[in-house]
Symmetry: C2
Subunit: 404 residues, 2 copies
């Protein structure tokens, strides 16, 4: 029997000299032949007799098919081991090796990726670091999103933040679709919001993180991150899959950008959505994000507004938690989903609500308060059913969105 | 009737204020509803009554479903127009808008993308610039690949290049799977090869471009590119899809990296390979590459060693040529495929052969000469069939690989 995906993707011991990948080939493909093509074609390349004098050097770089398992539906799952020495430690080189040219010809899906624990980067903060910055322990962190973001200027961002900050919010992030536009330049957004964060800290002693969305080319984006952090920005948001893992890695390595980085999953479906192609969500949003240094990773909760599978969510969370990266189940999160999320995750989670806060019938402040009210009831074992909840923000939220 | 894909992906006039995308939804999906979700969800986001006071600002950012066409198989093709003003001009923001969050939930495939001609970057060299640098006109450019690359040190690269240079090769590139390894550091590879290129220029007056493979994180990769160019490197290779379009854009904008950039398609199949998900090859390897500033783009020739479709190849070439980017049909190219490629492309093409040069039975020099022999016969209308070709490099190549 195949182990569950979250088991299959566990890190290998630090110093391990192989990288292991599980590929699935669909029914009808010659899995054994395809696996051999991958192991050889993505490493030593051709094996012409003319290269026999170089056999020793080539052999040290050669991939190996470690196992082949025929599936019930006629597909094949192959485990291939690649020498770690073929790589420079970057995600770009890794993806080029394990799927690069092969992806243009063969039909295969990467189900799992096992990297040595010391391959790539560690998150600099992770969930423990976020808790330390916020000085919030023993409860889930509550996170909101500026929405609708397009058409909202810097002052509009500040107005929203003022309401959310007053209600005790922990983290807010830009909408991922808002780049550095002339009508709401990213630096102005931060400058308008910074005094509100400062005032909250002065008043309550509690920090509030604002993950500012980065955009541009790889260089201008990093310069933007540096300017933001130099002006006090305390968190960043990156659409890792549309900008590149290499951009995330550069930010994580930059001592001038010493703030937590939230990774957004936009575009992951282009890589992960098809059943027999691309890569499993657990690999892209779990293993790769965790080894590229993200501090927190967003992904759809399987009971949210996007049709996401529980197995994918489980695989993502296992890979993130193995490296202390904060899991951020998202999309369709509202106070009525809190019990279900905490049932799955316990408290070590960030609850990220966009419309589930912004569109609360009584406004943004009550939108945040409804989450805290739900958390307090849950913690004390009280029911979250509408009829059991007294009038107030949570009651109004449950009326609108259901759940509980 | 739908226009052919290469027609559908034509650039819009410069200054055009919309970006148009054709999506296909599979049979069984409610195409009209999905299109609406895309147009609204990827722009204005939610349309809650609470935001009515912001309606004017939101409306200027709203996407519009421009057409819906039911396909014979029950699928739907929808054209959606997105305001250009939602973007900062980067490919990262573009991909986030047109497919970002939606890709996590809905099943759709992007068939075509029409960008204003002045969106993004122009190639700085393109095929005309490559010809000018090489001073080669009126014939296809001949390009080789260092293979097998892993296990080959800097001196080994130089040995191969010496043979190829003597035979008159125009361009050589690193294997895309060779990053900056301690056993063959990228700077040492260039330093070992530079004197051979210089000697060829002194001897024949003709330059030879060596596209050096970049790797690392976004910042170290760009520093590597700058160091290489400072030491005289005259071309670069980037795995655009595993490092990110943002990395390509940063290189193209960098005045310190004023050399042609070759874009490798490794990993494109993870985005483009599935029938109903992701993006068409013409969008990724054509439109996006051409608007991100690549000078030359590699992709599988449909009669090569990878099972690639002629329609995909046609769409890629149309998008590249619209911006003077050099098309580089690759994978399984050998002298026996020359007539077919030139029949399709004419002379305005780069013929890129890996094993088709390196594994020539008589060695690398004859591997290059076989291409020139084939070109001369083709130009003079002489047969390329084995029995018509006199003994020599081309005859030996046709014996080994067939074709003609």
């Amino acid at each position: 029997m195949m182990p569950a995906e979250d088991e299959r993707s566990r890190d290998l011991p630090a110093g391990h000299s192989w990288i292991e990948v599980d590929y699935r080939f669909p029914p009808g493909a010659d899995g054994a032949r395809q696996a051999q093509m991958l192991a050889v074609g993505q490493t030593a390349g051709s094996w012409d007799a003319r290269h026999s004098h170089r056999e020793k050097e080539l052999r040290s770089h050669l991939g190996e098919v470690r196992s082949l398992a025929l599936q019930e539906d006629g597909g094949t799952v192959a485990t291939i081991a690649f020498p770690r020495g073929n790589l420079d430690g970057s995600m770009g080189a890794l993806l080029t090796m394990i799927f690069g040219k092969y992806s243009l010809g063969g039909v295969a899906r990467i189900l799992a990726l096992r990297l040595p624990a010391d391959y790539g980067l560690q998150p600099r903060f992770g969930l423990p670091g976020l808790r330390q910055r916020l000085d919030v322990h023993g409860r889930p962190l509550i996170m909101a999103i500026f929405k609708p973001a397009l058409g909202l200027d810097a002052a509009g961002h500040a107005e929203i933040l003022a309401q959310a900050a007053m209600a005790g919010l922990d983290i807010i992030k830009d909408d991922e679709i808002l780049p550095d536009l002339a009508e709401a330049p990213v630096l102005e957004r931060w400058r308008a919001c910074a005094p509100i964060i400062e005032a909250r800290r002065d008043r309550s002693g509690r920090d509030l993180l604002y993950a500012v969305n980065l955009s541009g080319d790889a260089r201008s984006l990093q310069e933007q991150a540096r300017r933001l952090v130099a002006e006090g920005a305390n968190a960043l948001l990156l659409n890792v899959l549309t900008y590149g893992f290499a951009v995330l890695e550069a930010l994580v390595r930059d001592p001038e950008v010493a703030v937590p980085i939230f990774a957004h999953p936009a575009f992951a479906g282009a890589l992960c959505g098809a059943p027999e192609h691309g890569l499993a969500y657990g690999v892209v949003l779990g293993t790769l994000m965790a080894h590229a240094g993200a501090d927190a990773v967003l992904y759809p909760a399987h009971y949210g507004s996007l049709p996401f599978s529980a197995a994918d969510e489980t695989a993502i969370v296992a890979a993130l938690r193995a490296r202390a990266v904060a899991p951020v189940p998202s999309a369709g999160v509202h106070p009525g989903t809190l019990a279900q999320i905490l049932g799955d995750y316990g408290c070590e989670v960030i609850l990220n609500a966009g419309t589930g806060i912004m569109d609360h019938p009584d406004g943004i402040g009550p939108g945040v308060l409804a989450f805290f009210e739900a958390w307090e009831r849950w913690q004390q074992g009280e029911s979250l059913r509408l009829e059991a909840v007294p009038p107030g923000p949570l009651h109004r939220a449950l009326e609108k969105w259901g759940g509980g």
